[in-house]
């Protein structure tokens, strides 16, 4: 069986995404005002989006997989290892923010990114820790005391 190209998969995902949005336009509240209805513009834009995505799908099916690098799942993970680590750590940072707060969570995030993407020696970990504490601590002080922003405190650490 012939493998689908990346572009074909992306075009299909975009068409499904557009379909979900189009379906949602029928759920909106109708207003009794003498103005253009709220759904007119999004539906018009979605129709243009559909047309473009269909052209994109047809073009990608015609072109096939020529020029694409074939990677196994493991190779793909290895190729995008660093961004995946960063996104994963940022997600963890957001999920733990109610408990750790911006300061502690931020320090752990910066240290985590350096530890996973950068060097992994004991000395490097210490240096990464110092950079994390220094940089996030400095930014936290500037935003809290100089700009007057109340950054989220963690329920576990209370800062």
């Amino acid at each position: 069986m012939r493998r689908l190209s990346f572009d074909s998969i992306v075009a299909t995902v975009l068409l499904l995404f557009g379909g979900a949005l189009f379906w949602d336009t029928f759920q909106w509240r109708r207003t009794p005002y003498a103005t253009m209805a709220s759904s007119v513009w999004p539906r018009f834009v979605l129709l243009v989006f559909f047309a473009l995505c269909v052209i994109y799908l047809i073009r990608s099916l015609r072109r096939g997989t020529a020029g694409e690098t074939k990677r196994t799942f493991v190779e793909w993970i290895a190729h995008y290892r660093n961004p995946l680590w960063c996104y994963g750590l940022f997600l963890l940072f957001l999920l733990t923010m109610p408990y750790l707060g911006m300061l502690v969570g931020g320090i752990l995030f910066v240290w985590g990114v350096q530890a996973t993407v950068g060097e992994r020696t004991a000395r490097a970990h210490l240096r990464h820790g110092a950079i994390a504490i220094g940089s996030v601590g400095f930014m936290w002080l500037v935003f809290t005391y100089a700009i007057g922003v109340i950054l989220p405190a963690g329920s576990l650490v209370h800062i």
Partner: protein
């Protein structure tokens, strides 16, 4: 007299000590960010926004203008010293700047770059102060139909000039408009695309979205390769380099023709909605080479190439500000960010902006002028800082900047959902770039989508007649431009190879003459007549030559594609 009062008041606001300090910090930050390969000017500006949020509009905008001007000039430092352009706006600077530096004249190469940026920026600032009020006056003639068509033109040109394929550019632009539809609509206040999620009822905040698209995704692209992420940015030293100011100024004065032409190209490209300095520097270099008596010397380290590229990229900033201030349409991705910043301060640029907010409008112009002087003064200091920062591994910078993005984004509205917006669009931006979708059309879609919707709604409220979109002169003018900008990618690809491309420019000139003729008065019909004569003249000349393809066309097309 009133004009003078506004200018004096603007000078007073911009020359306040606090503002000067903020601008200097902004310029230095811009110089450094622009100099670091992989960091873009748009990214530097969005990272500045959280600091400017609590400032009065003049201070906030002056700081961002400092970053903008600094960023445009900073790109040349790494272009000259390492051969890697710090920003796409300095790509053409590497052709001769790096070669000259390797030939033992890094100080002269830097000096020519710095002073070309300075003079190019100053010329564009003069044109900004003269042209923006005139363009705003023209903008007052626009009805909702004309604004809608102008937005359509801005989006099509953004898609066609985005260096990727047109289809992906258009999809990115339309996707941006869809993203802007999330949340309450401006006309009726109905929550759209919320899918029952409370946080989505307000839609995505503009700035977290921008930071996600431009900063987060860019940083992920920078650290993707484990090898380059752990290396210092550059070990190639420049510690001993001193900028040669006097000989650089002399070299530019000897090439004033190149400087003038390149600056005008820069302003013109900047005025075009969505076309930025990444295009103007290449275009100006190409034109300088074509009109040179010794084109074979370009790329061997001659001053001409540096003058062309650097004066054009800084001049583009002034051009982009003209469109933003006069019409409320961003000239490029960076001015799109600045437009968002103005909206945060409850200021919406439109044709009435200069007349209703003259002090702020002239403060922007004065700050843009002043930023160039600060840029020259800070260049040597920034060079030393740049050398220090280049020793830091990229992953350390990326980690620290990501944390800063999170803190900065949260501080804008104190809303947790903004951090999720940052993550979502950090992923969306990265995936789009990896799949070859350009980000500039998307961001213009986000900015211009609501403008288009509001004007469409207004036009329907005024009249149900759809033919007004083609019978109103300005609307027709922009629709013609939109159609030609849609064809442009094919023209660019076929230029120098297919005969039909010889008809592109004459056809554009002749069709544009039609709405200009219909506009009445005497200036516009004269312009239309000039365009008509130009178009017919081109046809006659090409017909006389037997519709032969010119060698220069192919070379130009190659340079643009490369």
């Amino acid at each position: 007299m009133q004009y003078l009062d506004h200018v004096i008041a603007a000078f007073g606001a911009v020359f306040e000590l606090k503002n000067l300090i903020l601008m200097t910090v902004g310029v230095v930050a811009g110089l450094i960010a622009g100099a670091i390969p992989g960091f873009t000017i748009a990214m530097a500006i969005v990272l500045t926004l959280p600091f400017t949020f609590g400032m009065p509009p003049v201070e906030g905008l002056s700081t961002m203008l400092g970053v903008f001007v600094g960023g445009l000039s900073g790109g040349l430092m790494s272009a000259v010293l390492t051969g890697i352009p710090g920003t796409p706006s300095a790509v053409a600077t590497t052709f001769d700047g790096f070669t000259m530096a390797r030939a033992g004249k890094p100080g002269l190469a830097l000096g020519i770059g710095v002073w070309s940026s300075f003079f190019g920026g100053l010329l564009s600032a003069v044109l900004l102060s003269v042209l923006a009020p005139q363009l705003a006056r023209i903008g007052l003639e626009f009805g909702p139909w004309d604004f809608f068509s102008l937005v359509a033109f801005a989006l099509t040109i953004a898609a066609s000039l985005s260096d990727e394929d047109l289809l992906k550019g258009l999809i990115a632009g339309v996707f941006g408009i869809l993203v802007a539809c999330f949340g309450e609509d401006q006309v009726n206040g109905v929550a759209r695309f919320s899918f029952g999620v409370d946080a989505l009822e307000q839609g995505f905040a503009f700035l977290p979205l921008l930071v996600g698209l431009f900063a987060f995704s860019q940083l992920m692209s920078d650290v993707r390769d484990p090898g380059s992420a752990t290396e210092a940015l550059s070990e190639r030293g420049a510690a001993g380099v001193k900028i040669e100011h006097l000989s650089a100024i002399k070299a530019i004065f000897e090439r004033w023709g190149i400087w003038l032409r390149s600056s005008l190209i820069g302003v013109f490209v900047g005025v075009l909605p969505a076309a930025g300095s990444s295009i103007s520097n290449i275009l100006a270099y190409d034109q300088a080479k074509k009109s040179s008596r010794h084109p074979e010397k370009f790329g061997t380290g001659i001053p001409d190439g540096i003058v062309a590229s650097e004066s054009a990229n800084n001049a583009t900033a002034g051009g982009a500000l003209i469109t933003m201030m006069a019409l409320g349409i961003p000239g490029d991705a960076v001015t799109a960010v600045m437009l968002g910043a103005l909206l945060i301060h409850d200021i919406a640029p439109s044709p009435t902006f200069i007349s209703t907010q003259p002090q702020l409008a002239y403060a922007i112009i004065v700050a843009f002028f002043l930023a160039h002087f600060i840029m020259v003064a800070c260049q040597s200091f920034s060079l030393r800082l740049f050398v220090l920062i280049m020793r830091v591994p990229l992953y350390v910078l990326a980690a620290v900047i990501l944390a800063y993005c999170a803190i900065g984004v949260f501080s804008l509205n104190n809303v947790d959902f903004d951090l999720w917006t940052l993550l979502i669009f950090g992923i969306v931006g990265y995936v789009m770039v990896r799949l070859g979708f350009p980000l500039t059309p998307m961001i213009l879609g986000v900015v211009l989508g609501p403008v288009a919707e509001v004007n469409l709604s207004r036009s329907f409220a005024t009249s149900s007649d759809l033919t007004l979109f083609v019978t109103r002169h300005w609307s027709l003018f922009f629709i013609i431009l939109a159609v030609f900008s849609l064809i442009y990618p094919w023209f660019q690809r076929a230029r120098g190879r297919k005969k039909w491309t010889l008809g592109y420019a004459p056809a554009l000139a002749i069709t544009l003459a039609l709405p200009l003729f219909l506009m009445g008065g005497w200036v516009r019909p004269i312009l239309a007549f000039v365009l008509l004569i130009f178009g017919i003249g081109l046809i006659w000349r090409r017909g006389r030559d037997g519709w032969k393809l010119e060698a220069g066309d192919l070379e130009g097309a190659r340079l643009h594609q490369g």
